[in-house]
Symmetry: D2
Subunit: 304 residues, 4 copies
């Protein structure tokens, strides 16, 4: 019989720990999507808290629980990455009797077949993000919160440099001030943009990842594609320049769209958004982020 | 005159944003250390909030403020990385009239000359972490909070596998149960461990980064060094095996040491700690983290 | 009709380029494995050379060819990642009429269900590596070379520190010099090790990736697993300490095993091996690498 | 006396190894630059070969030699990163009696004070790259080759999408075909570009890193800066759009410039160049690379 030194008291003193767990563990997981099943390669962190009375957290259980869930999806696919996290978060509290909270996070590349035109479809890669937090409430009832999110890479074109370039060129070309010129997009810097949207929802509330990706694509200056012929490139470039956006614009367009696009979400749902533009005219990045609730977003939109 | 499209209203609607700024911008910065000046290569993020009424945040100011501070340290070194962050955080609110909060984060590699024995000193690399958050309070007074932290790589040896190995070997070697055997360290898995400690302090309260690094080194099973001759390697290995520690132990030893080692810190100071062991017997990592206050830590220690 | 500025002459002068292409493009790819089909998430680089007479390489073709191959595997899985690379390499030369050489590289996480004991199986993650190079030879015949490789994370225990620890302990415990002590593994530093083996083979010669992974596992001090109960941990630790190995040992054991394990490979096959130990007693890594041919390896082994 | 198990024969058999060493070891190093001394944070790999007769390579020597050189630069700065590598490469062969070749590689961030206009200077970050390879020749004479290189981030604007956009817009605006329009830059996609140039030179031949950086900046569509006011942004954007370049163009402009800019380099010097554009209209990168000699470059340029 192997000794159980985890169960003893901590030698350093009775200090509780908020999170103890395993991290950067990767597993294949079969997920049922609207029109097909997909196999995702997901990276997980799987953690629980640890009371002040106990030396160790017996982390082999975390690995076992994660493996039990992900491995069985090979024959019975799970509904979503967040459903997987929820199951694991519950099971963690069932198996770690001394823990009062569990937190599971996952992210996975997600490929969607799409294209700028028929015949040019291919798999574009996105990122799915999921979380589940389970807390032991009064009378042993569990309270579960889930995070459902996604991230997409697209393009932004800067509205400020566009106006500055027009201004500069008008010094030599006064005709730029009027006429057809105003309809023709002006040069500016454009770049890769990475935008993320995540909802924290209570049990029973669902959000569709594909809809999150659609919302992000609408908020960027233009989505990007892996297959673009010459005319397609021109269309993407023109679309981006006709919709120039700061990171501030990207995140606000995204947030302004949320109450319309995800109309059924309860007021208490937390909304988190972040965007990064890998600026072509700088060696560093520009970013914006916000976190709020559906209620606050609805108020802000209504006030406009 | 270039057009100022930042100052206009946001087209997406009156949505405030918590953070807008520049990220992953790298600068050399001269810092005055206890016994010498050092040049750090620091990576910064520099952000402010943006009110619902304004389209853009004029981020060129962030880059200018950062450059103004870091460049002038070439002739007038700053006292610490957190002092640099504080100066930038204040200046951000001075120059972004519409912002009510600023947040500056920095991290920088930090080399300390040390060794396991005289004649074996060299530069060991650590990480400094600093933050400053400035908030506009009533009557325009600024409230400033600073984060002062550091991270060190060391070694952990697992106490559980050590006992399990002893148990397994005793089946064939019952003499292991007693006598000199008990004094001889038993094999276990050991690995690279990365541990971080950070204090959130009000203005006027200082913490010395070298003391944070010393605290971390004492909490790991053993510190590690770049120059080790054969006998030195044996000493490090034996030290680690005589002080086997889970990630749970590392973080508790570290936290238990804080009230003694940083005795003058006020009760309200927030303490954050995190540790990761890159397990040699797994392909994934094991980690633990905690955040608390000096007051709570003092209570926990007193209760033991 | 869109202008074709790629076909014009380069303005900088008639300088040929060895490689022009797309990089870090990720695609799902369905691969037929011995006992099952798997979906890999692969990252590709897809390149051709460019003659001195031509301005641009029309890289949209590279993306189209890659998509055509990977997308069709959803209904018709490809035999292996290297077979996919070979098809792409050929097609590149067919579609880039002015190119004389193409090079395709791919890597993909690969999960294998295994465990230290029945009931403890789960998916362990490895890396598959594949390459294909096609060259236009005389009379338009193509010469194709493929690279087939894999990488595994395992554990190494240092044989030198083990002897140094024994030596140091013997000063206080002379009894360690003899008797049962010699059978009991001595402490040392152990760590994560990452080892890679790749064969460059002509057309028609196959190597099984699972066999490459088995060879690597035998060369490390011990393989590692995601699920380990207490007794299992002890077994892995003891196995590693009974087979202590430098990086030099890992790579030589691996290479010495190659002529036996891959006996049918022709003499001209190139063998490449590399190993990295993320040392627990240092903050930096230790590594070893070698490249040779089957013929040379056979000679070296025969001479021993 | 600690046992020396490195000196014994390898148990796996008499297999020589091309490279054994330490990797990802970081050190501060003081370097004398034309107008000032700088402290670089450099990352090194330090390797030697290992004959078939010897089990281990005694890697503690590599760490000692590296530390001896880098630490003493605190009081006596070295002339350049490649000079540091050369000293280490020589010393490796002096201390590893059984080795016949040594290879040292280093890279370090390098900050240069510059700006788009007076009053807007700040530190821009670049990368220095250095190598040294020492081989034991007949009669014990050493042959030393050094690599001297640098990498810069700038901007590229695509010439193809520019013409495609013009073409597409001309369908609705035929006036774009003539007149002042031709002088006004057309929209296209632009992005971050990372370009590297490295020379392999014999002893006694020097190349100035600042000159390499100047060459790279001239080859990209435009250099980028950390401080840009509105008018500056417009100038950078217009410069890039007036000099649209594929990756193919960037690398050829760079190579075409080499014989002029580095006119004194001998014919046998090897020239390596690589460039990556992080495409704004794709999620993946586009790249080009070439390696050649000064002699071949001179021939190519002369033929044009």
């Amino acid at each position: 019989m192997m000794p159980d030194i985890h169960a003893g008291p901590p030698s350093a003193g009775p200090i509780e720990l908020r999170r103890v767990g395993i991290d950067r563990i990767r597993k294949p997981i079969h997920v049922r999507r609207p029109r097909r099943d997909v196999v995702l390669t997901a990276e997980f962190s799987v953690e629980v808290d640890l009371p002040a009375s106990r030396k160790g957290s017996d982390l082999s259980r975390n690995a076992e629980i994660l493996a039990a869930l992900t491995d069985q999806t090979a024959t019975r696919p799970v509904g979503s990455l967040e459903e997987a996290c929820s199951w694991i978060a519950r099971e963690l509290l069932a198996r770690h009797a001394s823990a009062s909270e569990s937190l599971v996070r996952a992210s996975a590349e997600y490929f969607v077949q799409e294209g700028i035109a028929p015949g040019r479809e291919s798999y574009e890669d996105y990122l799915l993000i999921a979380e589940a937090r389970a807390e032991r409430g009064p009378e042993g009832r569990l309270r579960l919160t889930r995070g459902i999110g996604a991230e997409a890479v697209g393009m932004t074109a800067c509205p400020c440099a566009m106006e500055s370039c027009r201004e500069l060129l008008m010094r030599d070309h006064p005709e730029l001030a009027s006429g057809p010129w105003r309809e023709i997009p002006m040069v500016t810097h454009n770049q890769r943009n990475r935008t993320r949207l995540l909802f924290e929802v209570p049990e029973g509330v669902e959000v569709e990842a594909d809809e999150i990706l659609a919302a992000i694509g609408s908020a960027q200056s233009a989505p990007t594609y892996s297959i673009l012929k010459r005319g397609d490139e021109a269309r993407v470039v023109l679309e981006a320049h006709r919709r120039p956006r700061f990171v501030e614009d990207v995140i606000r367009e995204l947030l302004a769209d949320v109450p319309r696009r995800f109309a059924s979400l309860p007021d208490a749902v937390v909304v988190r958004a972040a965007t990064v533009s890998e600026e072509s005219i700088h060696k560093y990045d520009v970013r914006a982020s916000h976190w709020t609730t559906m209620a606050e977003l609805r108020r802000a939109i209504a006030s406009s």
